[in-house]
Symmetry: C2
Subunit: 462 residues, 2 copies
């Protein structure tokens, strides 16, 4: 057992208990009712960074939830790692599908986590993964092994599209100056198949509203004679995909990066078992764009998904009504070169134009961000790869993720540095879903791997 392993062994109960305290605060950024809990969480993150050894930590006000900034500068000639994470979490609903309350963390064993997993909203996304970095810093400081400078920027609005982070980054370029950005907000293939995320999809998130008559109507007296906004909304949404599940918005695919045969063949080598995938989701068949595999559909291809739909009577029993308004929340995952602002405009134009006479359509752009691809020959990637080799005994697989961390491309633009995505969660950890969890193995393995990244990055930078 090496020094970091024995340090973790000695302190692991405390590491888990400290994370539990953080998970108990319902820091849901999408709902303004939790404003105070977000401030409490920011305060807790600040204290944890101070205790871990940061020299200065401050809570930086924004127009929304504050950003926690901390740093420990040991020598300005040494490289600087900027850690980014977020302390806000997704909404917890539907609450009735949680087996234990979302904000009362508990450890339970699962098939994929025989050593136990921490169940609770934010356990994996991103409080748990963010806190690995705090504990890795603690180890390096307490044992005098911090090999370089470190800065932390932990925000509270990632789950709502980071509306205030761009301004903060632009206004603090000198303060945030770094040689590499390190983020743990993605996943890896399996606990015995480590991987590093080399690509992210972009995102365009919109809300649409279809208005028919100016009031709810009796479906007997008016049924068949006026446009029913729900029927129209379903027709409009359905028409956004053709029979091959291609997206029909004109211009949508114009800038999509097409991978070469060789690149697709390389991707196909990643371990993937379709039967296990279907079984885990309890589905009889996968579904998606004709001509692409499941792994391609959820990483290198753009998508359009309805994330929420509502309108009319949804209570118990029956109500024979033609409602005045129907709504949907729709997100598009974008691939490199697609510009999220342009795509949002294309969507808005197309969706508005296709509305039949008799209804009014309103599209409200919500938020978005660009996709991202990182090269695997950079010092940062090489350092991360060596760290995983040491702790997992295997070279990690570079992998494109279907998820989005919109601010990654912003960082590259504003701070001129590359981001390394060292994620330790599993796809099955149910982030954004009921029963979100994070393996105890993964949490501790993250804490073990991160200091090695610092070591190798500093060495390779010389």
């Amino acid at each position: 057992m090496n020094q970091i392993q024995s340090y973790i062994n000695q302190h692991k109960d405390r590491f888990i208990n400290e994370l539990f305290e953080l998970l108990k605060i319902p820091s849901i950024s999408a709902d303004s009712a939790y404003k105070n809990d977000l401030l409490k969480t920011a305060e807790a993150v600040k204290i944890s960074l101070e205790k871990a050894g940061c020299d200065t930590v401050e809570i930086c006000k924004t127009d929304g939830n504050p950003i926690v900034y901390g740093e420990k500068i040991i020598d300005s000639n040494l490289p600087t790692v900027l850690v980014y994470g977020h302390y806000d979490v997704q909404p917890a609903d539907p609450l009735d599908l949680w087996d234990s309350p979302p904000f009362e963390p508990i450890i339970k064993k699962t098939d994929l986590h025989p050593d136990g997993a921490i169940f609770g909203r934010g356990s994996c996304d991103d409080k748990g993964q963010m806190y690995m970095h705090v504990k890795a810093l603690e180890f390096m400081v307490k044992t005098n092994q911090l090999p370089c400078n470190v800065k932390f920027m932990i925000e509270g609005e990632e789950e709502v599209g980071s509306p205030n982070l761009a301004v903060f980054v632009k206004n603090n370029q000198e303060k945030l100056k770094n040689d590499v950005i390190l983020i743990s907000d993605t996943g890896m293939i399996a606990n015995d198949i480590p991987s590093i995320t080399t690509g992210l999809r972009g995102l365009s998130y919109v809300e649409v509203e279809v208005t028919g008559p100016n009031r709810d109507l009796h479906s007997g007296l008016y049924g068949g004679a006026v446009a029913n906004p729900i029927n129209i909304l379903t027709k409009m949404i359905a028409s956004l995909h053709d029979e091959n599940n291609h997206i029909t918005i004109p211009g949508f695919y114009d800038k999509v990066e097409e991978l070469s045969k060789e690149e697709r063949a390389e991707m196909a080598k990643a371990p993937f078992n379709l039967e296990n995938y279907k079984k885990a989701l309890d589905i009889e068949a996968v579904y998606g764009e004709t001509g692409y595999t499941t792994n391609e559909r959820n990483s290198i291809r753009p998508t359009l998904d309805v994330n929420g739909i509502w309108g009319g009577y949804t209570g118990e029993g029956a109500k024979t009504v033609i409602v005045s308004k129907a709504y949907a929340k729709i997100s598009m995952r974008l691939v490199p070169h697609q510009d999220w602002i342009e795509i949002t405009e294309l969507f808005t134009k197309h969706f508005t134009n296709m509305a039949p006479e008799g209804v009014k359509v309103n599209v409200k752009p919500h938020h978005g961000g660009q996709g991202y691809v990182t090269p695997i020959d950079s010092i940062g990637y090489q350092a991360a790869s060596k760290a995983y080799q040491d702790t997992f005994g295997k070279t990690p697989i570079p992998q494109r993720s279907g998820g989005s961390i919109p601010i990654v491309s912003l960082f590259e633009q504003e701070l001129k540095s590359k981001t390394i995505l060292m994620g330790f969660g599993l796809d099955s950890d149910a982030i954004h879903s009921p029963n979100e969890h994070f393996g105890v193995f993964n949490y501790l393995k993250g804490i073990e791997t991160i200091p090695l990244f610092y070591k190798y990055f500093t060495e390779l930078s010389k």
Copy 2:
């Protein structure tokens, strides 16, 4: 001023105040939370019938909400009128669209009701219209002018499809024996254009559930690779109409009654102003089945409308989720000869069969009923027509309604008598919608007209 007019004039404030007391009880049958309010309403109806002059009134238990039965038999050789109505109401949501609380009745003037209208859930459908009959009885009894026998059957489950009424009617055929059934639960064209409803549409109401993956998924990690139940549901619903807005369910139109050119020409004579219709609903165009006029679309043609849809994240802000389940409530209005049970089966089969691999579909039939047409040469219709002539000074127009009162065809089948639909509401009274109201003029005109129906029906029956 004749005797009934002066009686109304003398008592109208009390008539309105008594109705207000009834409207204050939130007797929402679709929501079991209001169970107690339904019992309270039944009790209030019972007392009102006793006070109006019924000899016996009883609250009859059913498996659901009770039925209030009352009667006054003056001579078994005279004809018997059976009055049907309901004391339950539609749900009041969306509450925020009401200008005054739904269960705090208030009188306000409107363009179409310059004498004022009673605003409140159930004011028109059907507490107000039902209570006209109670007050008409009061007048006839107090002034010794009741010309025949009268029975009342007031139920508490009309808005949820009368699930227990059929059993009650079947088990009480002798008690309910009558010569004509009288119902005020429909409307008329305008306050200066009286009309009598001669046809009703049938109804099939179903709830559908589409299940994709066994849990909510992150739309980045799984987007594009698995069937999204909301996208699929919109596709399935959209496919239920073709480009001419014909319904695509195989066999759906097989038994639809096709009206002759002459019948359609007769219908087209009813006063209708398309510009006013569109203006009242604030829509730029009407919408519906190709080849039919607005008045045909909402009366002699069957329809399919989504009454409610829900799934995924519908709260404030954004959640990037692919949800496990999506739902819709769908109702079909049927025309004479379409059998609602057969149509429900055709829908279920079609909807289930069209589901793509990757989702599971469940169709839950909710309730339904057959359509109805009544001849205009019957004694009942003639008596009603003469009554309107007396009070409105105009021959009422026979009119097919798009609404459904499923129990009307049940009555014909079980009790072998025809129903006369003397409705005094207006289409613009917003029944089933926020701000439901019922004109004070209409309420009092109903009370004035009903005793004349009794008079003429008894005379014509001789």
